[in-house]
Symmetry: C2
Subunit: 417 residues, 2 copies
Amino acid sequence: MLSAALTDGSAHRNCSFEVFARRLPDGRRYGVVGGVGRLLDALDRFRFGEPELAVVAKFLDERTVDWLREFRFTGDIDGYREGELYFPGSPILSVRGTFGECVVLETLILSVLNHDSAILSAATRMVSAAAGRTMIEMGSRRAHEESAVACSRAAYLAGFTATSNLEAVRRYELPGAGTSAHSFTLLHTTEAGPDEAAAFRAQVEALGVGTTLLVDTYDITEGVKTAVAVAGPELGGVRIDSGDLGVWARQVRTQLDDLGAANTRIVVSGDLDEYAIAALRAEPVDTYGVGTSLVTGSGAPTAGMVYKLVEVDGLPVAKRSSHKESRGGTKCAVRLTKPTGTIVEEVVYPADGERPDPGDLACRDLMVPMYRGGVREPGLPTLAEGRDLVARGLVSLPWEGLKLSRGEAAVPTRFVG
Amino acid sequence: MLSAALTDGSAHRNCSFEVFARRLPDGRRYGVVGGVGRLLDALDRFRFGEPELAVVAKFLDERTVDWLREFRFTGDIDGYREGELYFPGSPILSVRGTFGECVVLETLILSVLNHDSAILSAATRMVSAAAGRTMIEMGSRRAHEESAVACSRAAYLAGFTATSNLEAVRRYELPGAGTSAHSFTLLHTTEAGPDEAAAFRAQVEALGVGTTLLVDTYDITEGVKTAVAVAGPELGGVRIDSGDLGVWARQVRTQLDDLGAANTRIVVSGDLDEYAIAALRAEPVDTYGVGTSLVTGSGAPTAGMVYKLVEVDGLPVAKRSSHKESRGGTKCAVRLTKPTGTIVEEVVYPADGERPDPGDLACRDLMVPMYRGGVREPGLPTLAEGRDLVARGLVSLPWEGLKLSRGEAAVPTRFVG
C-alpha cells in the first residue's frame, strides 16, 4: 500500500485519520480511553531499524525501503486524554500528516488503544462496583507477559489500589501489593503431614504481623484459628481464595471478631469480576484481589476501535459500503454537562466549523493537542491525572450509566455540521 | 513469600511444580499447548537486573535481594511439546528445583503458556473449520502490540498460511501477506469525487496484476468491474470485507468468471471466527483473513492453566479446600491410540511409578526433557515441527473432537497410581 502510494505520489497527500469506536462492547454503557500515555511514548520511539528494513527489503522496492529508513512522524495529533470517557463515534484520536506517515502508524495506534481501553473500561466498572473498597490487581499470569504490565497500569488508572506485577511497579511507579500463594503453605509439609502453622510463622517472622495470611489451603476455619494463634489479634489480614466468598467472609469476620482480631482485614479473590464484586457489597470484605477478568477485559478483551481516513487534501472522504459507514472530515468534540456536573451529551462537529452553542450547559473541549509538527506537546496528563479523570468521569455519568446490567450507551453522541 | 521461605530455610527444599488446566474453556473439546518455544527462550534470559533489584530492595531484606541477584535456574523441566493436544488434567509442564527457584518462575511460565495456548487453541479450530483453504492472520490491531506478535506465531503453529504482522515475520521468519486498506482507495479522491480505478492502477503498477484489490470501499459490483478493467483477467485476487460474505462471494465469483477472471481468488474478511469460517465452506471463498477473533481466543482469551506445587522433598502435596483440589506428586503422561491413529485416552501416572501397560494400543510419551540442571536440552521442536504436530493432533482426535459445537473434552484423562 505504501509502495503503491509512493509510486503514484499519493503518499504525500495531506491526510486526516480518526480513531473511533462504532459501538461499545455488547451491553456496556461507557468506555474509558486507555493507553494514550503508552502510545505517545511508543510514537516517540517509532523508527524502522536495519533489522526491520532487511525484512521488508525482501519484497519492497528500494524507494519504499529508503522512505521507511528516513521515517519520522512530522504531523499533528489531537485526542481524548487518557482516562476520558468515550461513547460510540467519539473522535478519540485525530492524526494528521501525509498519507504515508499516518498509515504506517495504524497498527501501533490501534493495538495500544484497543488493548488498554478494553482493560481500563472493564477495570473501571470493577472499581465502581467495589464502592471504595481496596482492590489489588493480580491477573498477570493470565495475560501475555507484556500485556500484563499494561493491564496493571490500566487497573491503576481505573482506581485499583495496587498491583502484584512488580515490573509495572518498576516501570510506572505504581503501588505494589501481593499475598502468599498456596504453594507457600504446602511447602511447609513434613513426613508428619501439613504444617500450616509453620508457614504462617515463617511469613510473620519475615514480614511482621501486619501481613496477610492465606487461610484456605486446607480448612478455612482451622486456617483462621491458626493464623490468629500464630500472629496474634493484630494480624493484618487473611485471604480467602475459594468457596462461596460471601458466606465465608461473614463466617470468618465473626470468627476473627470472636478471636479479638477485630481489625484484621478480609481479602477475597478467585475469579472475581464486576458482578461478583457487586454481589459481595453487603459482605464484610475489605479487599478484592482481581485477576483473570481484569486482564481479559471481563468479556470484552478488545475495544473495537478503528482508524479511518476521513479527509484528503481538505476533502472529506468516507467508506460507503454496507454497515461500516464512517463520517468524513476532521472533527472536534465537546461534552455538555448540567450545573450538577452530569453529562447531557457529547457533540461532535467539523474541525473547521463552529463550536456548538452550549446554551445554559457547561461545555468542555474533549480533544487536546498531543503532537504538533511531529513534536510532542508538553504537559500531557500524568498517570495520577488520568486516574483522577476516570474518577471524575464516573461521577459525571447519568446514574443509568453506572448500572452493570446490559444497556445502551449512557450518553448520546450528536453529530452536527 | 520468597523472603519468608529464605528466612526459615524452606526456600531450599526440593520441589516439583506442575502446570495443568482444570478444565478447557467452556464447551471446547481439546486444547493445544502453545508458547513453549517462547517460554524456553524467556527462561534462558530470566535474570534480575539492577533496575529490577532497586525496586524490590525498597521492601525486601538484603538477603532476598542478594538471592535474586544471583538467581539462575538450576533445575529440571519436562513438558508437552509445543503443538501437542492437551486435555483437563494433562501435566503440561513439570518444573523441579528448589522452592525459591521454581516459585519465581510462576508468573512468566503461566503468562506465556496461558496466552499462547488460548490463541493456538482457537486458531486450530479455525484452521480445522477452513478445511484446507488459505488463511491470513491479520488481527494485530486488536491486541496488545507485543501480544500481537505472539498471536501471529500461534496462528502459524495452528496452520495459518501467513500473517500481516511484519515483526512476527522478522522475529520468527513466518510467511507474510497482506492486502490494502480502505484508506488507500479513499486516498484516491479528488475534487471530482472518488477514483477507485486510480487506486487500483497505483497498486497494480507497484505490485503487478497478481496483487489482491479491495473491492468493497464503495460498491462491490462496481469495484469488481473496475478491478478487472484495471488489472485484466489475470488479477490475483479481490477482497471483500463487509456485507453478507457468503452471498457476495457467490455473486463476485460469477461476476469474475463472466469477466474471464476465472483464476482470480476471492479473499474474505470481517469479524470471521471459526463458526463464520465453517458457514462459508460451501461458498467459493479462496482465502480467509482472520483478525479479532483470533487474537482474542474466540471467546477464550486465556487458557486457565495453573502452576501448582505437587511435591516437596519427595512428599506429594495438594490443596484440599473446596473445588480446587489438585493431585499431589510429580507425574508423567502417555497417550494411547488405536492402530488407525485415533486417540483412545491419556493416562497420567506417578513419575516414580510404572508406565501403564498399553495392551494392544500404541503408546506415546507426552513429556519431553526441556531443562536438565538448568541447561536447556538440545533438539527441542522448531516452529515447523510444532505446526506439524498440531496437524497430526487434529487427525488423531476422535471425530467428535472436531465438532465446533459445545461439548466435553474429546479425550478422557485417566489418573493411575
